[in-house]
């Protein structure tokens, strides 16, 4: 190029490393901001939920429908055989049911007597469909298609197949994020149903590949807990309602301190094939210390 021809006027350029620095500083700022003010995330969530959630809803509905149809064709034979079986079972159950119904009346009468009914009362539940799963492969959280407008709130418990799935951790107008108990950083205070011994159930990514999750800090001095015992959420948990089934103990090891035990349990819920869940419309009441409590406990 000859030196006479002037270069066209130079545009103002920021070197790319400064762009990177600015953007990462922005990220760190966001992290700090949302860490110290959890409510700061809600405007982002509201905007994006109107943009994204309807599509996730749609695609999930189509996917569910397709899987439904596939199963439908595959299972039609099985169902016929099953139907016969069930018919005979039904007649048995009918007779059993009448008997149980009588027992139930008696039971409820007795419960009223003991004013225990509040604790064991059926919780108010609402069904929800899973519309999206976490974008990473190693976090077990997902979105459901109900939110604030359906009466959900943060920290509500989520169940499926009669077992505990997790709890709501974030919420938008028409969606909620559920973190499951098998997520690597979730811990649940639990107890063995038969002996009422307390323990901590924690999700574990490395063990979940084997279909189990971990528990620890089980105090069982009398050696009464055995493999196969039911584990339910405990009364002292501050996020989970008491008495929800978590799973069954599959192995017990004595800890090195000789006081507590740890091991693994098989969750009652099949987390691989979840598509609908039930949300319990009740938040565990906790004593909030002053006015510093997060927005979860006061609705």
């Amino acid at each position: 190029m000859s030196p006479v021809i002037k270069k066209p006027k130079k545009k103002f350029h920021i070197p790319s490393k400064y762009v990177l620095m600015i953007v990462s500083a922005l990220c760190v700022l966001l992290l700090v901001l949302t860490y110290s003010f959890p409510f700061a995330t809600s405007p982002f969530r509201n905007v994006s939920s109107y943009l994204i959630v309807p599509f996730q809803n749609g695609i999930s509905a189509v996917g569910d429908w397709m899987i439904d149809k596939r199963d439908y064709i595959a299972r039609i034979k099985d169902l016929q055989a099953e139907n016969e079986e069930l018919k005979t079972e039904l007649s048995d159950l009918k007779s059993e049911n009448t008997e149980l119904q009588q027992n139930k009346y008696e039971l409820s009468r007795l419960r009223k007597l003991y004013t225990l009914d509040a604790q064991y009362q059926d919780y108010d539940k609402t069904g929800a469909r899973i519309i999206a799963k976490d974008s990473g492969n190693w976090y077990h959280s997902f979105l459901i298609n109900k939110g604030e407008t359906d009466g959900l709130a943060v920290d509500m418990n989520v169940i499926a197949d009669d077992g505990l799935v997790g709890r709501v951790t974030a919420i938008g107008p028409h969606w909620a994020r559920v973190i499951s108990i098998i997520n690597d950083d979730s811990n649940v205070s639990a107890q063995v149903l038969s002996t009422s011994d307390n323990m901590i159930v924690s999700g574990s990514l490395s063990d979940y590949a084997n279909g189990v999750i971990d528990y620890s800090k089980l105090t069982d001095n009398a050696d009464q807990v055995t493999v196969g015992d039911k584990v339910v959420t405990s009364n002292i948990s501050d996020k989970y309602l008491p008495g929800i089934l978590i799973g069954y103990i599959s192995s017990i090891n004595k800890d090195a301190n000789n006081l507590t035990k740890s091991g693994q349990l098989t969750p009652a819920v099949d987390f691989e094939h979840l598509d609908t869940v039930l949300v319990i419309l009740e938040v565990k009441e906790t004593i909030s210390d002053g006015d510093t409590s997060s927005g979860s406990s006061d609705k």
Partner: protein, 181 residues
């Protein structure tokens, strides 16, 4: 006009891949592992647009993941914007039409992404299971992502060439000089 259209298409690509990743690949997962479309989009766009724009594109991709799936905004945004920056460095080295190097870059970025997440999500919590983590989660994800990238990367490049490529400076200058002469 062309610039605006390019912006619109980028935004659309990011949103569509996020939606597909979180909803469609729930059904198309293999053994619980689904591919990482966001990495594919970030890396492919960074390769054609360079490190500066790659950083911003990565930031937006990450922020989208953050908004829905993490408690504090910014973690994924950080990881993705570094991914965009690093793969944007290949802009001058990789010829986007070839397939081998971009796919390798995507696989490498996915590995880096897995490593980042491992360090900042698990090591910080005092959990060490590097071997099984790599074997059971990261490697399958890379494999699946690479397979999907073989389809999606050419698609993105095609869209880029067809609708988004800016008219080059040299082409403009050439036209200008021709008219002055």
């Amino acid at each position: 006009m062309r610039k605006f259209r390019a912006l619109l298409i980028i935004a659309l690509m990011i949103i569509v891949s996020f939606i597909l990743q979180t909803s469609l690949f729930r059904f198309l997962n293999i053994g619980g592992i689904s591919p990482n479309l966001m990495i594919i989009v970030t890396v492919s766009l960074s390769i054609v647009y360079g490190d500066k724009k790659g950083t911003v594109i990565g930031f937006i991709c990450g922020l989208l993941c953050d908004i829905f799936f993490s408690d504090y905004l910014g973690f994924y945004a950080l990881v993705y914007c570094f991914t965009g920056y690093l793969s944007g460095k290949f802009e001058r080295i990789i010829f986007p039409d070839s397939l081998k190097l971009p796919i390798a870059a995507i696989a490498g970025s996915d590995l880096l992404y897995g490593f980042f997440c491992y360090v900042f999500r698990f090591v910080i919590n005092g959990k060490f299971f590097f071997g099984s983590f790599i074997l059971h989660y990261v490697l399958p994800e890379i494999l699946y992502t690479t397979l999907i990238a073989l389809i999606i990367y050419p698609l993105i490049i095609w869209i880029y060439k067809r609708f988004m490529r800016p008219i080059r400076e040299s082409e403009k200058n050439f036209a200008k000089r021709k008219s002055t002469l």
